[in-house]
């Protein structure tokens, strides 16, 4: 195992008593608890971590957080593998395995790096220019692009990790636990507000973690610990670490992905906050000089963070290049860590002597008025070329100075992380003084604070955070006092010098590449080319050059790219603007989005009260909406067809029993129940006698069949409706919406009884005898209890409702029973029915039996474009009243000739079972396009009849009974069929009336 050559002997927030082992690209390395994968790689001197996306240039770690564009690695293998992981945000754990996603045959020698030699070909718009012609080659191009693209591979097996969701509410959500966020949280918490403080780091403190800056007279680490300890004392304060706030949605709904550890990998916090304080800080920006992507070129703040947090000094001989004050601290940190700092190159001609003196005091040469123009070295930094500069961006650099180094720390200034503010709909504005975009007006209840608000000094951040916390708490109605601010050192500030594209020895279009977007290999020259080719709008330039399209979403280089665009256009940056910030802030895993909702918890499985019996009887189940319903009950050696044949014949010959509990059931009562239902149903509801049932069609306002069921009059002002299984919730909501919004004057109350009542259907010629055998309190004879009527009764000692309705065409009873007793009643019926060979059947047999009788299933034989007339049910449409959908039925299209109508189909050969959905045509061999005259809606083998049957919708079908047409069987095969009336079995209805 390699030695951690870049690890400092002391310091950092790592736990040296807990060494960890990990593998990267097949080699073993060591690190410590508290490392990120990136800090551990740097500790081991690993420079080269990946190849770039398009040009396959060698790349190293640049940053230390969400902005990292290069160290995007694949973690683990097999089912648990994770693609697209930023090494800077992956906590190191023992046994971690990571690998680069590009580089073949090896990372050091990548064959595709020839792309880099032909870099001019791979310029802006490369994909558009190259892969468009000839169009018929697109399929080949696409395969090629897909092979070349991608930031890793998705696992091909189920994720073994656990995830969960968690809803939370608070008065004040503080995003970011740096100095501003800590002060905001403290101010809000002390007022009594419910506070959530979320931070993406392992520990709170933000930029202060590991810092020795004095705050309030003590080291920063101690100050942080004291604040966090106080926060944790409050019952209503929650401090979330390892938690990335990735989405700011409407109504202050904020989503946070928390890395948990243990068997719970990630938790999604769904937070509803009354007020939000955004204190997520700022991203340091790079500078665009030649070869600025070489491994070893890093952000100055990242270098400092690696030294302070992780005790890792990423280089031995460093150069610092800056256009602002902040990188001076990096130079000091490097020197303190024992590195030789060859020079601090500052583009500014003059800088406050206090700052310069401090750096020079530790022996670092400071070159004011100089720029780094180019980097030497290929697989890592070998040195830099430095030129004197007077501030003219059009000048040619003289490259007079050459400095040997293995690390170049760069600071081009800071970009406030306005992402969440912008996601929330807030405006952003260009700050002419600070040369960055800052949050402007908020659209939701949020405010920004700290460096995310363009405040650079520690004192300003603390004050800004406190003020935001106080204001947020007060907005929630809390009497918030202003906490005292800790005393910190104030320093003179020399303003940043705006510098984006650094002048090179040659013109910017032919000099070595100056990278803006490291993930997509977008360079200064690409933006300039896009402008020459006519692109002006920032959104267009983004899409043409792919600037900001990577998984880092341009956190590193986008603003620099916008500034280069502005310069090329000769327009102010403010007028160019930025592209849109959208969630997620950083990529989130599918696992955390799904949460617990996988496997058996993916969607609720609704079960009837009799479900257990079906399971123990070995039923095969099918999903009907969310319900699991028995599909058929196979006996040993039976398949679907043979089981269904047996179930059908048993029902027709003796008794079949069906669990129909999933039917929607609605109790309708009230003064105006009749008036209400007259408007809903097409038939005469008021004319029904108490105790009578009727088939009820429900039409949409368009006159099309929407649902159907049986409705029963239970009393003068009380009805009981059934709906289809799938339509239950929709129909109840539809009826409620008419009552609540259109006819509030009607006094009618609806109550769903779908779960309260279980429905057992007993069908077949012996069904009456079975009920009589069980002991029934009423006379079940045809005369006393006729077809389409309902009786209250006691059956086997249980109070039930009996309905003489039939969906099979046989003598049948539907039994409604309190669900608490349904399983007992079912068992009783099965026991008593043994002498009749009672046969349980499922949905498939139910479908065959009803199709034999020509009963439609709404949603199978209808598709939302079928009227009652199309189904041959015009007798149900009352002429002398109004009802929903009636007026639509008079539309010309509803009364025209040639509408598709329900018919039966018989195969001419008496054997062929048609395919459901098959298209119907007049004659085979007709010229294309062959006119389609209808389609098959239901098709089964009828063992009762001894031949296949089908239902179909055929244009003008009712007047074509006896005619021959043809049905496609697929693969060019055609069946000849005869149109017949849709009732195949007992057309005189003698059996169901028995």
């Amino acid at each position: 195992m390699a030695r951690q050559t870049n690890r400092l002997g002391s310091g950092g927030r790592i736990d040296r008593s807990r060494p960890l082992r990990f593998r990267f690209n097949g080699r073993d390395y060591g690190g410590y608890e508290g490392d990120t994968l990136a800090s551990a790689l740097l500790a081991n001197g690993v420079r080269l971590v990946n190849r770039s996306f398009k040009l396959h240039r060698p790349r190293g770690i640049i940053g230390c957080g969400a902005e990292e564009p290069n160290a995007i690695l694949q973690l683990g293998s097999g089912a648990g593998t994770l693609p697209n992981q930023r090494a800077t945000q992956v906590s190191l754990y023992d046994g971690l395995e990571a690998r680069s996603t590009r580089g073949w045959p090896s990372l050091r020698f990548d064959a595709s790096s020839v792309n880099d030699l032909f870099g001019r070909v791979f310029s802006a718009g490369f994909y558009y220019k190259t892969f468009m012609f000839p169009q018929r080659w697109w399929d080949y191009y696409e395969a090629f692009i897909r092979r070349s693209a991608g930031l890793g591979v998705a696992p091909d097996r189920p994720d073994p990790d656990r995830y969960e969701h968690r809803n939370a509410h608070c008065d004040v959500l503080v995003v970011g636990a740096g100095p501003a966020g800590l002060m905001a949280a403290l101010a809000a918490a002390r007022s009594g507000a419910r506070v959530i403080l979320a931070d993406q780091q392992r520990e709170p403190g933000g930029s202060l973690v590991g810092s020795d800056l004095p705050i309030g007279g003590r080291p920063a680490d101690e100050w942080i610990a004291a604040v966090v300890d106080e926060l944790r004392e409050f019952d209503d304060v929650r401090v979330l670490t390892h938690s990335i706030v990735f989405g700011y949605h409407d109504h202050n709904f904020v989503t946070i992905a928390q890395e948990c550890g243990g068997d719970m990998r990630e938790r999604l916090w769904r937070v509803r906050a009354r007020q939000v304080v955004l204190a997520q800080g700022a991203f340091e920006r790079p500078l665009a000089f030649c070869n600025n992507d070489r491994p070893g070129v890093m952000l100055a703040s990242a270098v400092s963070a690696y030294i302070k947090r992780y005790a890792v000094c990423p280089g031995r001989r460093a150069v610092v290049f800056t256009n602002n004050d902040s990188a001076y601290q990096c130079a000091l940190d490097l020197a303190h860590a024992g590195a030789t700092v060859g020079a601090l190159v500052d583009s500014r001609g003059s800088v406050s002597s206090e700052l310069t003196d401090r750096v020079e005091a530790v022996g670092i040469p400071v070159l004011h008025g100089h720029i780094v123009t180019d980097v030497r070295g290929r697989l890592s930094v070998g040195g830099v070329r430095v030129a004197r500069w007077n501030g003219d961006t059009d000048a040619r650099a003289d490259n007079s100075i050459d400095i040997r180094c293995d690390l170049l720390a760069v600071s081009g200034g800071w970009n406030p992380a306005v992402h969440l503010h912008s996601q929330a709909g807030g405006a952003i504005a260009w700050d002419e003084r600070r040369h960055c975009f800052v949050p402007a007006e908020s659209r939701q209840a949020n405010r920004s604070a700290g460096s995310g608000n363009g405040r650079w000094s520690l004192a300003d951040c603390l004050r800004d955070g406190r003020d935001a916390g106080v204001a947020a708490a007060r907005s929630c109605g809390f009497d918030a006092a202003e906490p005292e601010l800790p005393v910190v050192e104030e320093r003179d500030e020399t303003p940043l010098q705006p510098l984006w594209r650094v002048p090179a020895a040659r013109d910017p279009d032919s000099c070595p590449k100056q990278f803006l977007d490291f993930q997509n290999d977008t360079c200064v020259a690409d933006v300039r080319l896009a402008v020459r080719e006519g692109y002006r709008n920032v959104e267009h330039v983004k899409r043409y050059t792919a600037l900001g399209f990577g998984t880092d979403q341009g956190k590193l280089g986008n603003i620099t790219g916008m500034a280069v665009l502005a310069e090329t256009l000769g327009a102010p940056v403010a007028s160019v603007g930025t592209t849109t910030f959208r969630p997620p802030f950083t990529p989130v895993s599918f696992g955390v989005c799904a949460g617990e909702g996988v496997g058996e918890l993916y969607d609720p499985v609704r079960k009837t009260a009799i479900h257990e019996w079906h399971v123990s009887a070995g039923a095969a189940f099918e999903n009907v909406g969310q319900w699991h319903r028995p599909w058929y009950f196979p006996r040993a050696g039976e398949d679907l067809n043979s089981a269904v044949a047996r179930e059908c014949l048993a029902t027709r010959r003796s008794i079949g029993i069906l669990d129909a509990s999933t039917l929607g059931k609605i109790d309708v009562q009230g003064r105006d129940a009749v008036a209400f239902l007259e408007r809903i149903y097409p038939h005469k509801v008021g004319r029904m006698a108490v105790g009578r049932c009727a088939y009820g069609l429900m039409l949409g306002e368009d006159g099309m069949v929407m649902d159907d069921g049986v409705m029963t009059r239970l009393g003068d002002r009380r009805y009981y409706l059934t709906t289809t299984t799938g339509g239950a919730a929709r129909v109840l909501a539809w009826l409620e919406s008419w009552l609540q919004t259109e006819w509030p004057d009607l006094e009618v109350y609806l109550t769903s009884l779908t779960d309260q009542l279980s429905t057992i259907s007993v069908a077949g010629p012996n069904s009456r005898r079975l009920l009589e055998k069980l002991g029934c309190s009423i006379d079940l004879s045809r005369e006393q209890f006729p077809f389409m009527s309902m009786r209250q009764a006691d059956l086997a000692g249980l109070p039930v409702q009996l309905f003489r309705v039939s969906f099979s065409g046989e003598l049948a009873f539907e039994i409604n029973v309190d669900s608490a007793h349904a399983l007992a009643l079912w068992q009783t019926l099965m026991d008593a029915g043994r002498e009749f060979e009672i046969t349980p059947y499922g949905t498939e047999t139910m479908h065959v039996l009803r199709a034999e009788k020509g009963f439609v299933i709404v949603g199978q034989d209808t598709d939302g474009s079928v009227t009652p007339i199309d189904l041959g049910l015009e007798r149900m449409l009352a002429k002398d009243k109004d009802f929903l959908g009636k007026r639509s039925l008079a539309r010309p299209d509803c009364v025209r000739e040639g509408r598709k109508q329900l018919v039966g189909l018989l195969s001419a050969d008496g054997r062929t079972v048609l395919r459901e959905g098959a298209q119907l045509i007049e004659e085979p061999g007709a010229a294309h396009p062959v006119p389609m005259i209808g389609h098959v809606t239901s098709s089964y083998m009828s063992d009762c009849l001894g031949h296949p049957i089908a239902l179909a919708l055929v244009a003008g079908g009712r007047s074509r009974h006896g005619e021959t047409i043809h049905a496609s069987l697929g693969a060019g095969s055609i069946a000849t069929v005869t149109i017949v009336p849709p009732v195949f079995y007992d057309p005189q209805n003698e059996r169901q009336h028995d």
């Binding site: 969960e164 969701h165 968690r166 809803n167 939370a168 509410h169 419910r194 209503d236 769904r270 509803r272 617990e596 909702g597 058996e600 918890l601 969607d603 609720p604 499985v605 609704r606 079960k607 009837t608 009260a609 479900h611 257990e612 319900w627 109790d667 009562q669 009230g670 003064r671 002002r717 006094e747 109350y749 609806l750 109550t751 009884l753 779908t754 779960d755 309260q756 009542l757 279980s758 002991g775 086997a796 000692g797 249980l798 309190d818 669900s819 608490a820 007793h821 349904a822 399983l823 007992a824 009643l825 009783t828």
Partner: protein
Amino acid sequence: MTDLSQRRHGLETLVGAHGDREQLSATVTLEIRAAVRQLNLRGDPGKAGLRTAAEEALGQALPVQPNATTAGPHTICWLGPDEWLVLSATPDAANVATALEQALSKHGAAVNDVSGGQVLLHLAGSGVRDLLAKGCTLDFHPRAFAPGACAQSGLAKANVLIRLDEDGEAFDVVVRRSFADYLLRWLRHAA
């Protein structure tokens, strides 16, 4: 003859090993209260006589404040401006429906016994709020959800009625029977 006292909540196979009381986690216990009678009542509370008649029949007033419950012989939950759920554990609970129906018949109200269609889960313990927060978007903080409050919402992917008891300690969750198996599986997983 079927024994009418043998009511089934349909979760017997799931809770079989534990009886009707189960320790979901170190901090949450679950009890299935099958004996509690559940009556759904719909009617216009603005109507003269309806509230009085209901109060006489039930021995307590109907709550008219949104998401409130009243306690007395029964627990009555407000479900909507014209809808209530009466939870009754009294010895004569089985007769309450009939009495209520008779009392309200002339006021155009609808009374339905839904005891067989809904399952009452009683969740107690210090971890209940955290458990509910995993699947419900409501705010159960004492400032937002007071003792005796009730609300209809989603828990995981099932619609439920959630009620906090008068002591502010334990929650009743009422779920439709067909979703109960799913919800119990979710509760076990989430706890």
